[in-house]
């Protein structure tokens, strides 16, 4: 299947206006954790707009709130304050069920630890992401094969994650993230477990697919080399945005 911007907009025409239109609108976003009497404000009053098709990097030292912000962007978590709009929907206060549906249809994830299902082959790992969307199993496998070809793993379809290298595993994860033709891919330190050469390969794969699929990418990293590959660099510290290259 050809991957192009029309494909993406065709899949979800009502979600957002198209490339360049705001995909995320965050205003005064707060996420506070209370842990054993201690209150941690992991995200403090973040105002941020991310446009469709952008590739944004979140930089910052450990504990600066990058992952927490990604969880909010990825509809994995709900804010404790402020507002977060994604594809013209207010994510704050949505039920787990609604958030799950949004994730299944519109968001892809790439994790630092790859998070592949160890008992499923590369093909199976990509296919399993389409299961919640009631895609027929043979169709799932077809699309999985196609995506794995796109990430250059057409020869590794039936390999278990344990028999793939870190870079290969992360490329399977990228294929999986694209499986449901999402609007956005949330990647939390995708090269954190990879050596620099492999990191480059993986980033190259991500960038190539972003262009062909027209997908928005938000990537958290503290790797300068990775950040330098993105269009827009956002720096965080203590849960606040300190610097935004787009501003």
């Amino acid at each position: 299947m050809e991957a192009n911007p029309t494909d993406t907009s065709g899949q979800a025409p009502a979600k957002f206006a198209g490339a360049g239109a705001p995909l995320y609108e965050l205003a005064g976003l707060e996420r506070t954790f209370s842990k054993g009497g201690m209150v941690v404000r992991a995200v403090r009053g973040v105002d941020l707009v991310i446009n469709s098709g952008e590739m944004v990097s979140l930089e910052g030292p450990s504990g600066s709130g990058k992952s927490t912000l990604l969880q909010l962007l990825g509809a994995l978590d709900s804010p404790t304050g402020g507002s977060i709009r994604f594809a013209d929907r207010d994510l704050a206060g949505l039920s787990d069920k609604s958030l799950t549906k949004i994730r299944a249809q519109d968001i892809g994830f790439v994790f630092q630890h790859f998070n592949l299902i160890p008992t499923l082959t590369a093909e199976g790992n990509v296919a399993v992401a389409m299961f919640p969307n009631h895609v027929h199993s043979h169709e799932r496998l077809e699309r999985a094969k196609e995506l794995l070809n796109q990430v250059g793993l057409g020869h590794r379809l039936n390999h278990l994650p344990s028999r793939l290298s870190g870079g290969e595993q992360q490329r399977v994860a990228i294929a999986r993230a694209l499986a449901n033709r999402p609007s956005v891919i949330i990647a939390d330190e995708p090269t954190g477990n990879l050596d620099s050469d492999t990191a480059k390969e993986v980033m190259a794969t991500l960038i190539a697919l972003r262009e062909s699929a027209g997908v928005t990418i938000v990537v958290a990293t503290h790797d300068e080399d990775v950040a330098s590959l993105t269009d827009r660099r956002v720096r965080m510290r203590d849960g606040e945005i300190r610097e935004d290259s787009a501003a």
């Binding site: 787990d96 299944a104 592949l116 008992t119 399993v128 939390d188």
Partner: protein, 614 residues
């Protein structure tokens, strides 16, 4: 819905975990199968042994036994030598001679009758020839059962709600061999002359006066010629003239005023006085002569080299293969009685194996061969005999034509049993009426205990074992879910709903349950096979109906308990329902484990996929 491909890969690629959990469940259901098997094995054994009457279509057995209260009487009687007067009509009668239809069923007369019947075996020994003759002979005695006239059978059959009544004759057979013992001791009695001192009747005053006058006249006449006589005649001589106030040497007078004591012998020695005596006094003056007769005393026990072995026999209706002491369904090998059954017998398998008897073999009884046509396995409580004859054959062997000692009654429906029992007791007063239930109630032994134990403990044990297996499976699943936090979190992150994750976990554990069920069935079948192979023997003792060797044994100085004991080997059958139950149990275990694991998985936040969890 769940992803079968994912579940399948999860199970086979984590085969060690799958197998451990599955074996946990399998061990549980396998053991439960064993427990169910043992319980069913015991039930089967009990049904086989305990409900014979139901299985042969007989609901009631009517017998006449001596009441327990007469036991004392009969034993005291048997300790004294049996006396039998040899003479016309004596000794020759069969043991049924005393059994007159309608005769009193009073317990003492029963005991006496039975004793006589059983004793005939001893008197009969003498008929085999003079002492010292070698012999082999089978005697048939009724043991503790008293006979019914065959009319009793038809009387019972006529009762309302009775479908059929069949007579049978159960006897104790004594196989004796040896030499005819000297068992009788002939004693000649009588012929003696008994001299008796009698007290003559009291005389009237007139008689006394006459007598005195007569004697005085004689005395006065004699004194002049023989004065020494008065001295030699002692006190009688001097008391005579001394008058009524005189006291004689013959003991205290009963208080009569006109008492006149004399020695009859003394007077008779002096014939001269006889003419003075009254006729009444003269008649006592005689000797008593006892008539001569011979009494044969039977010594018990007879001192002889006689070897006695006993077995039990029964006469059954050869044409009734469905109701009776034995039925065609109890035939193990060979055939039932043929149309010409007079010389045919059926042998109890247990007796056949101890005596090494085979189908088509023969049994020789009193110089006549009987062909063994078949082997039967009669049920325990239904009066077990060793050898079964056609009724008429055993009746003639025992010289008891037309007599039976058991009536087997079939009633229309089980609810009629109580009413019919009452009717029979009215019809045949004193008869013992046994129902299948009363027989089963009297059965004791390790089998009943084991069955009770299996019911009481087995059920609890099965539940405990099953719960333990479920708990193990649940804990293993929980630990597996805990290890898969990142995997499950990732599934949630990429859009799997809570329900989908829970269903997936349950699908996996039910799959494990499936495997566990299959392994468990294997284990269960194995456990049951092992129990069957090495299973202990269980004894069962029925005291319900005894064609007791007891009286005969006591006559012969032997002691046998009047109970029938059967050893049943414990087996644990595997029924289809057990297999299905075990399989369902394993699936339920898998389901429960999946629910536990799913509940845990559902509580995992999708964000946990992003956390740094090592």
């Amino acid at each position: 819905m769940f992803s079968p491909g994912y579940a399948w890969n999860e199970l086979r690629r984590r085969w060690a975990r799958t197998l451990v959990t599955a074996i946990g469940l399998a061990a549980g259901v396998g053991l439960v199968m064993g427990i169910i098997g043992v319980s069913e094995g015991l039930s089967d054994a009990q049904n086989r042994v305990l409900s014979p009457l139901g299985s042969v279509g007989t609901d009631i057995i009517v017998t006449r036994t001596i009441a327990p209260t007469t036991d004392k009487t009969s034993t005291t009687t048997t300790t004294t030598p049996v006396r039998e007067v040899v003479g016309p009509g004596g000794g020759g009668g069969g043991f049924f001679a005393g059994n007159v239809p309608g005769a009193s069923l009073g317990s003492s007369s029963q005991a006496a009758t039975l004793l006589n019947n059983n004793a005939s075996v001893i008197t009969d020994l003498a008929k085999l020839g003079p002492a010292g003759t070698k012999f082999t002979h089978d005697f048939f005695v009724p043991g503790t059962l008293i006979t019914f006239p065959s009319v009793a059978v038809s009387d019972v059959a006529k009762l309302p709600d009775v479908t059929s009544a069949v007579g049978a004759l159960s006897l104790q057979a004594l196989h004796e061999s040896g030499t005819v013992p000297k068992i009788t001791n002939k004693v000649k009695e009588g012929g003696q002359t008994i001299k008796t001192t009698v007290t003559p009747p009291v005389l009237t005053p007139t008689q006394t006066a006459n007598e005195r006058a007569c004697i005085q006249k004689l005395v006065q006449g004699n004194l002049s010629k023989d004065s020494g006589t008065s001295g030699s005649s002692g006190t009688s001589g001097s008391s005579g003239p001394s008058g009524p106030s005189g006291s004689g040497g013959g003991g205290p007078p009963p208080g009569g005023k006109h008492r006149f004591q004399i020695f009859v012998g003394g007077l008779s020695s002096n014939p001269a006085f006889e003419k003075c005596l009254t006729p009444a006094q003269i008649s006592y003056n005689q000797n008593v002569v006892v008539p001569e007769q011979t009494i044969t005393q039977i010594l018990k026990p007879p001192t002889t080299n006689t070897a006695t072995s006993s077995y039990t026999v029964a006469g059954v209706n050869p044409t009734s293969g469905t109701t009776g002491l034995i039925t065609k369904s109890q035939l193990v090998s060979g055939t039932w009685f043929t149309s010409n059954p007079a010389d045919e017998v059926l042998v109890n398998t247990a007796y056949a194996s101890t005596k090494k008897l085979k189908v088509n073999g023969t049994i020789t009884i009193n110089a006549k061969n009987y062909k063994i046509v078949g082997l039967v396995a009669p049920t325990l409580t239904g009066d077990v005999s060793d050898v079964y004859f056609p009724l008429s054959t055993i009746q003639s062997l025992a010289s008891a034509p037309k007599f039976v000692n058991e009536v087997l009654v079939d009633v229309k429906s089980a609810s009629d049993v109580a009413a019919v029992t009452t009717e029979i007791k009215k019809e045949l007063p004193g008869a013992t009426v046994l129902t299948s239930k009363s027989l089963a109630d009297e059965v004791t032994g390790s089998l009943t205990n084991a069955h009770k134990l299996a019911n009481d403990l087995g059920g609890a044990l099965a539940i405990v074992v099953l719960l333990a297996a479920f708990l193990i499976a649940g804990l293993l699943t929980l630990s597996s879910v805990a290890k898969r936090v990142r995997e499950i979190g990732s599934l949630r992150a990429i859009g799997w709903t809570r329900g989908a994750v829970v269903r997936q976990v349950i699908a996996e554990t039910v799959g494990i349950g499936l495997v566990g069920g299959l392994i468990g069935i294997g284990i269960g079948v194995g456990v049951c096979a092992i129990i069957g192979a090495v299973g202990p023997g269980l004894s069962i003792t029925a005291t319900g109906l005894t064609v007791g060797a007891s009286s005969v044994s006591s006559l012969l100085g032997q002691s046998t308990t009047a109970t029938a004991t059967t050893i049943v080997h414990l087996s644990a059958p595997v029924h289809l329902t057990t297999i299905l139950l075990a399989f369902a149990g394993a699936l339920v275990g898998g389901l429960l484990a999946g629910i536990a694991g799913g509940w845990r998985a559902a509580r995992l936040a999708p964000a946990s996929a992003l956390r740094d969890l090592g």
